[in-house]
Structures are given as structure tokens and as C-alpha cells.
């Protein structure tokens, strides 16, 4: 009796509240709709004739969201020099808002987008596709060919812009331009240990294992590989194909001129690879705790307690900085195992900026992104600070940073046209780094974005299968023969075939349209 009364009173109350709530929310879209109707407004007109000078631009306010820690120096500069420059160049007031990494690609970022706040942050193609489907990002296409983006069009690779287009529209603006082909396809070896045991280089799996055996005999406390995924660095061992992974499940063969998607876990290559990993795990090259405590692997590597890691172009000097605190003599060198295949690049960008759908002046944001990659002077300022205060330069343009505080993060900014090297980085490292992309090819899938909406369910479920059944098999934590059949059965039951077919269909369509335009 009491219960029915409760419900009877609750119901009208809730309805009333619902109505109140809906009124509030419908205000939001109307604002954004009017924005969409006149995307540039006065700002673009004046920018076109005014060029880079701020004269004629109406004042604007920009909020840039960054993830991670805000350093003290960053705070100071935001209030002083950054502010002045941005005011002077594009007549905007600049504010940085820092969020914990947990809020990247969801969390508070999504809430801010959904409530129509006016800001920009960085994204990836996966998050972009989902957000665009929900209408959360502003369409930046109208500003791409004008003066707003003119400078970065020169300093950022054209392919990078394509990578953030969806059906011909630019939804995010790439930032960074650095050699990053063959990410994780090389083995980053502790050269000091290698030389200590009388070897000079590593060029095959056999040599790599020999390296482990020898070092292990001398230093039993060290672990071999500080990771759980070695499919890329070992690729040259188990296949003649030049595989490039689109995600955890799917790959393409870059040496073939076709649009065929390969189901990685169903290949013989995967079986061969899993076999190697199982051996590594049993031998202790990958430590037992890797199945549980992956953070420990990274911290072991950083404290100099591992022999090799997955390499990238920049890791020999980026990583050395971390290790040298624990092992001052550490030296890191990249090796490819039996490489005679071209390196594959996903594009040279670091990441890309999006602007929220409800931003009052998206063009001004584009202008700001442009500033970051405009010229050496501005790049130096945003990445390194003020010369004399934060860093000094020697005659060769090599840098010594006097402050350790990070400004706009290095990894994000990195542009080969502007980036500076620390005086501690050896010349040959820089030479190797600069030449890294010379024999690289851009992946034939670069710029393709998968629209997951037809297979959302399947994608979600296969992710569950991956984290439970496929990772232990592929990292060699469990016996292959006993566990692989079950994992595949689960994968199929989760609807993998449907997912794969949809992926193939979209990719083929996209691939066909690409070859037309090229």
C-alpha cells in the first residue's frame, strides 16, 4: 500500500523534472546550429586579408586541454610569454587546462564535449571516429585552405592531414612531423651490455637469444625483454610478408598491392610467433611476472634492469635519458632482425587537435595550432621556453636545457623541421634519426578510419576475448596447443567473422576510392 503511494508520488515528480531538464538541454544545440550555419564569421574574413597579423581580429578566448601534469614553468609561461605572443599574433586569450590521463578519450573530455564547452584537445583516429559520429567535433574543413592553416601546411606532412579526415572533411588538425616509421619493429638493445659480453651487433633471433644467454650468465638479476608484445620486432623471423597491424586483430601485407585484410590470429605466422614467445617465457627472457605486473616491466627497463625493448626512431636518445639515472654508462642502439623490407609509416604526425562542436570561433583554434608549428622561433618558445632562461644553444644549434620542467609536451610537438637535440646526444644518433624515414613507405591503410557502428557489439565482445584469451596465448604465458583452440572458438562466438567482413568491406571501398584519386 505504502509502496504504491510512493510510486504514485514519484512518477509525476520525475516527469516534471524531466521536462525541466529537457528545456535546459535543448538550448545547447541551437547555439551550435547557428555556428554551423556561419562557420567563420568575421574572423575568417579579416584573417584572409590580414595574414598573420592580429590587427582586425576580434578578441577571442581559447581553452586548450592537455593531459598529464602541468609544470610550474608551464604555468608561468602561460601567464606571461605564451599569453603575449598569442595575443599579438592572433589576438586571442590563451588558457591551458590540464586533466589527468584517465580523462583522455572519454571521461571528463566527453562530458565537456557533450555540454558544449568551448575548447580544443588532442585525439586519435579511433576516438575521432566515435566523437564525430556523435557530432562532438567541429568541422574544420573551411579553415584548412585559408591563411589560418597556411604555415603548418608547409611544416606538417600532407598525409598527416589526410589521416584525420572523415569522408573528405577535416575533423582534427595533425601536430608534429617526425620520423616514426617502423615503430616497435626494431629491437632496442642495451649496447653497453652487448659489448660487455663480447658482441658487437644483433641481426637475427639467434643472435638476440645468444645475447640474452651471455648476459644472463653474467648478470642473472637482469630480465631479457621488458615487454609482452614482440610481434613487430620478430616479424622478420617468422614471415616474408611485410605486416602492418591495423589493430589487435587485423593486419595487412604492405608488400602486396591489394586490399586484403589478414586475420592475424588465424595465420600460420601467428602460430610461429606465439611459439617463439612461449619459448621466451619459459626461458625467462620474458619474466614470469610479465603476465601480471606490466608496469613493473617498464620500470625495470627504466631502472636499467632489462636487456632489450621495442625500439622506435627516437628511443635511443629519449630512453637513454631515463636509464642513465640508474646506469650512467647505458647506451641504446636499434637493430632490425634480418631486415630487407621497407619500413612502414602510419604518417609522421604525433597526434591531432580537435575543436569542440560548440566552439565560438573554431578558426582561431586552427590559427593557434598553426602558431605551434609555424616557425623555429615559435616552436622553440612553446616546446622549450625562453632562450637563456630555460635553455641555451651552442654554436651548432644543440641545446642544453637548464630547466627540467616540461612545457607543451615534447612528444606532441616533435617536428623534424624545428626540433633540437640535447648536447648529450651523439652525432651519429642524430644522423641515424634524421635518415630513419628515408627508405620508409606510407602504409596503404594510412588515412583509413573504420566506422565501427554496424559492428559495435561484435567489436566490444572481441575486445573482451582478446584481453582474456588471446593475450596469454600470444605472449606465451600459457601453453599454445591447449589454449589456442578455445581462444579461437571464443573469438568466433563473439562474432569476429562479421566484424572482419565489415572491416574488409569498408576497407575495400576506401581503398578503391583512394587509387582513383592517386
Amino acid at each position: 500500500m505504502v509502496k504504491t503511494k510512493c510510486w504514485a508520488t514519484l512518477l509525476p515528480a520525475t516527469l516534471l523534472l524531466l521536462a525541466a531538464c529537457s528545456n535546459g538541454n535543448t538550448n545547447e544545440p541551437s547555439g551550435s546550429a547557428s555556428n554551423a550555419a556561419s562557420p567563420s564569421g568575421t574572423a575568417s574574413a579579416s584573417a584572409n586579408d590580414g595574414g598573420s597579423s592580429a590587427s582586425g581580429l576580434a578578441p577571442a578566448k581559447l581553452t586548450i586541454v592537455l593531459y598529464g601534469d602541468e609544470s610550474d614553468r608551464m604555468k608561468e609561461l602561460t601567464k606571461s610569454k605564451f599569453q603575449d605572443i598569442v595575443k599579438q599574433e592572433i589576438n586571442a586569450e590563451l588558457e591551458f587546462q590540464f586533466l589527468p590521463w584517465s580523462e583522455y578519450g572519454g571521461g571528463k573530455t566527453d562530458l565537456m564535449l557533450s555540454t558544449g564547452e568551448d575548447f580544443a584537445a588532442y585525439t586519435d583516429s579511433n576516438y575521432m571516429a566515435k566523437s564525430v559520429a556523435k557530432g562532438l567535433y567541429a568541422d574544420l574543413t573551411p579553415y584548412m585552405d585559408g591563411a589560418a592553416a597556411a604555415d603548418m601546411k608547409k611544416t606538417v606532412d600532407d598525409n598527416s592531414f589526410k589521416a584525420f579526415q572523415l569522408s573528405g572533411k577535416q575533423y582534427a588538425v595533425p601536430v608534429g612531423n617526425k620520423p616514426n616509421s617502423a615503430e616497435f619493429y626494431s629491437v632496442l638493445v642495451r649496447q653497453d651490455l652487448l659489448e660487455e659480453v663480447g658482441m658487437s651487433s644483433v641481426s637475427s633471433l639467434a643472435e638476440l637469444e645468444q645475447f640474452y644467454e651471455k648476459v644472463h650468465a653474467a648478470h642473472p638479476e637482469l630480465i631479457g625483454y621488458a615487454g609482452t608484445d614482440a610481434r613487430r620486432m620478430l616479424m622478420y623471423e617468422y614471415t616474408d610478408k611485410n605486416l602492418y597491424w591495423l589493430n589487435d586483430f587485423l593486419a595487412i601485407d604492405e608488400s602486396a598491392q591489394d586490399d586484403k585484410i589478414i586475420s592475424w590470429f588465424e595465420t600460420d605466422e601467428f602460430k610461429a610467433y606465439a611459439g617463439i614467445m612461449r619459448e621466451w617465457y619459459e626461458k625467462g627472457i620474458v619474466p614470469k611476472y610479465a603476465a601480471t605486473n606490466q608496469p613493473q616491466l617498464t620500470s625495470d627497463w627504466n631502472s636499467g634492469k632489462a636487456m632489450f625493448w621495442a625500439g622506435t626512431a627516437a628511443r635511443p636518445f629519449e630512453g637513454a635519458a631515463a636509464i642513465s639515472q640508474a646506469v650512467p654508462t647505458a647506451k641504446l642502439v636499434n637493430y632490425f632482425l634480418n631486415r630487407d623490407l621497407p619500413k612502414i609509416s602510419r604518417g609522421t604526425y604525433s597526434t591531432a587537435w580537435f575543436v569542440s562542436a560548440n566552439a565560438a570561433d573554431p578558426e582561431r583554434y586552427v590559427m593557434f595550432f598553426n602558431l605551434l608549428q609555424k616557425n623555429q622561433e615559435l616552436y622553440d618558445l612553446f616546446a622549450y621556453g625562453i632562450e637563456g632562461e630555460d635553455y641555451t644553444l651552442d654554436a651548432n644549434g644543440r641545446m642544453t636545457r637548464t630547466a627540467t620542467d616540461e612545457l607543451i609536451p615534447d612528444w606532441l610537438m616533435m617536428n623534424k623541421n624545428f626540433m633540437r637535440f640535447d648536447t648529450s646526444v651523439p652525432d651519429d644518433f642524430i644522423a641515424t634519426y634524421k635518415a630513419w624515414d628515408d627508405d620508409a613507405i606510407i602504409s596503404k591503410a594510412a588515412g583509413f578510419t573504420f566506422d565501427n557502428s554496424p559492428v559495435k557489439n561484435e567489436e566490444t565482445k572481441i575486445n573482451g576475448v582478446f584481453s582474456e584469451f588471446l593475450t596469454p596465448v600470444s605472449s606465451g604465458f600459457v601453453d599454445f596447443d591447449k589454449n589456442y583452440p578455445k581462444a579461437m572458438e571464443k573469438l568466433k562466438a563473439a562474432g569476429f567473422d562479421k566484424y572482419m567482413a565489415e572491416y574488409q568491406k569498408q576497407f575495400s571501398e576506401w581503398y578503391a576510392s583512394q587509387s582513383h584519386s592517386q
Binding site: T14, G106, K288, T292, N463, G464
Partner: protein, 318 residues
């Protein structure tokens, strides 16, 4: 019944209501701040529940987005074996937590109640509270240093006494025990304070009388102290039952590092949703499952509340 009598009974009822209102009106006033808080921060936002049945997009907002029906539940219930396992694990762990937690909290409260040294009580009470503050990430790291296969303290001790080392992180059922112990460790002190406060409120004359009757210390505990705690135990259990299908993701993440080998028992609903929906960025799926957890808990509570009502009307939640 005559019209006259009807009218009279009507007016007396009205008069009774008015008198009631005069007496109880101030109760509405006392409840008002709480009601406002509930409406502002719980009931108004509940409008968001309809999002579970929608495909959210920015232009449509909460109310204008297209309907999705039960699509958001599909991913969970279309893989029945995962859904059942996740539900089973959640219920199993929660029941174990509840039983062990209640037992230890009550035992500690009774123990504290028996102690004489005021400073000992004060210090131990504070110390037992410490674990409540330490985040699961830190606890997980510390636990790992105990349980690691090669370097862990536990295995080194086992080896020292001539036993085989155990690969703790590959035994899902063994890990249930570790989870339960961690949970006791983290929350027993917290729970004990609730019960201890009840005991402090007990009129000491009960004990005096029983002592005069020659009751032993143990009898005092079983005949007076424990019965005094029963209503509180029922209350806390009822409150806990509503959350029967909800789990602590940060605990499992911190303590097991989401080790795939442990998932057969540690894959609670929140973990499953994290591994699938959250990892895929499908937050709509995630909120649909939250509704499932709430509804399930609600049904359980309605039943449990009824049962509690048979035992004692006063111990019902509502």
C-alpha cells in the same frame, strides 16, 4: 450509513489530518534540506536514465537523440556465458565480502567493547582505519612484492621451509581467498567502528543485572552484546544487498592487474564492462549495464526488505 454519519466521519478524518499536519508539519521542514539535496543531485539527473535506451548525439542532446531500444544491452546479454560468469563472480565475491566483513567487523567491535585500556582502544581503532586510506594501486604493488613468483616474500618463505613456490597469480580460485583477505583487511576496521558505536550506546544496567545473576563474561557477550548488534547487522546487510551486483573495478585492477589468467573468478561485471565496452569507447553500453546492476539489486532488496519485515518491523529499510 446515514448521510449525517458519513459527513461526520469525513470531517473527523479531515480534522485528524489537520491535527496530524500541525504536529508533523515541522517534520517536513526537517526533511526539507535532505529532500532538496536528493532532488538536485539524484532525482533530476535520473532523467539521464533514458540515455540507456538511446544513441546519444550532441545535436539531439539527452532528449532529442534517436531511440536505440535495448541495443545497448545487446553486447552483454548476447554473450550469455560471459554475462552469467560476470554476474556469478560479482555475487560470489560480494557474498564472501559481506559474510567475512560482517563477521570480522562484529568480532572486532565486541573485542574493543571488552577491552579496558582506553588508550589501547583509541590507538588500535585508529590504526585499523589506516588501510581504508591506502589506494588499491598502492595495495596492489605491496601485495605484489609479497606474492611475486621469483622475488616475493611469501615464496621465499615457502622455499626456506622446503616447500614448492606457488605461482599465485595463475590460480584463479586461490586468488578469491586473497581478494577476500584484502577486503577484510581494508574494510573490517571501518565496519567495526559502526558496530562499536552501537555498543557504546548500550545501557550498562543490562550488564550489571546479568552480572548479578552470575552470568559469565562469555554469556554477557552472547546473550547481550550480540543480540544488541543484530538490528545493525540486518541494516548493513540490507543496505549491502542493493549493491550485490556492483563491484569495485579499482580493487580488481589494483590487486590482480587484470591478469587474464585470474579472470575466471575475478571477471566481475564492472571488470567485464571495462575490458569490453569502456576499452572500445562504447560508454552507452557501460551505462546500460549499470542499469541492469541497479535493477537486479532493487529486486533483491525488495525481497530482503520483506524478509526483514517479518523478523522485525523496525528493521525494514522503507
Amino acid at each position: 450509513m446515514s448521510e449525517e454519519a458519513l459527513r461526520r466521519s469525513g470531517t473527523t478524518r479531515l480534522r485528524k489530518r489537520l491535527r496530524e499536519l500541525r504536529n508533523d508539519g515541522s517534520l517536513f521542514l526537517l526533511a526539507l534540506p535532505g529532500v532538496i539535496a536528493l532532488v538536485l543531485f539524484a532525482y533530476l539527473p535520473m532523467s539521464g536514465l533514458i540515455l540507456v535506451f538511446k544513441n546519444y548525439n550532441y545535436n539531439g542532446g539527452i532528449f532529442g537523440s534517436p531511440w536505440a531500444g535495448f541495443d545497448n544491452f545487446d553486447f552483454f546479454f548476447s554473450s550469455m556465458d560471459s554475462a552469467i560468469r560476470a554476474t556469478r563472480n560479482t555475487v560470489m565475491l560480494n557474498v564472501l565480502y559481506m559474510l567475512s566483513g560482517t563477521f570480522f567487523s562484529v568480532a572486532i567491535a565486541i573485542g574493543l567493547n571488552e577491552l579496558r585500556s582506553k588508550s589501547f582502544i583509541k590507538v588500535t581503532q585508529s590504526v585499523m582505519f589506516f588501510p581504508h586510506f591506502i589506494s588499491w594501486i598502492v595495495i596492489g604493488a605491496i601485495l605484489f612484492s609479497f606474492l611475486d613468483y621469483e622475488k616475493g616474500i611469501v615464496n621465499r618463505l615457502l622455499e626456506a621451509v622446503g616447500m614448492q613456490p606457488v605461482d599465485w597469480y595463475s590460480h584463479p580460485w586461490l586468488f578469491v581467498i586473497i581478494l577476500v583477505l584484502s577486503h577484510i583487511w581494508k574494510s573490517a576496521g571501518y565496519g567495526a567502528i559502526i558496530y562499536y558505536a552501537v555498543l557504546q550506546g548500550i545501557d550498562t544496567s543490562y550488564y550489571e543485572a546479568a552480572r548479578i545473576d552470575g552470568a559469565s563474561r562469555w554469556q554477557l557477550i552472547t546473550k547481550i552484546t550480540v543480540p544488541m548488534l543484530i538490528p545493525s547487522i540486518i541494516l548493513l546487510t540490507l543496505l549491502g544487498i542493493g549493491g550485490m551486483l556492483k563491484g569495485d573495478l579499482s580493487m580488481i585492477m589494483g590487486v590482480t592487474f587484470l591478469n587474464p589468467l585470474l579472470l575466471p573468478t575475478t571477471d566481475i561485471i564492472d571488470v567485464y564492462v571495462y575490458r569490453t565496452a569502456i576499452r572500445s569507447g562504447e560508454f552507452g553500453f557501460a551505462s546500460a549495464i549499470t542499469l541492469y546492476q541497479s535493477l537486479f539489486g532493487f529486486v533483491l532488496v525488495l525481497v530482503a526488505n520483506k524478509l526483514a519485515g517479518w523478523y522485525d518491523k523496525e528493521s525494514k529499510l522503507f
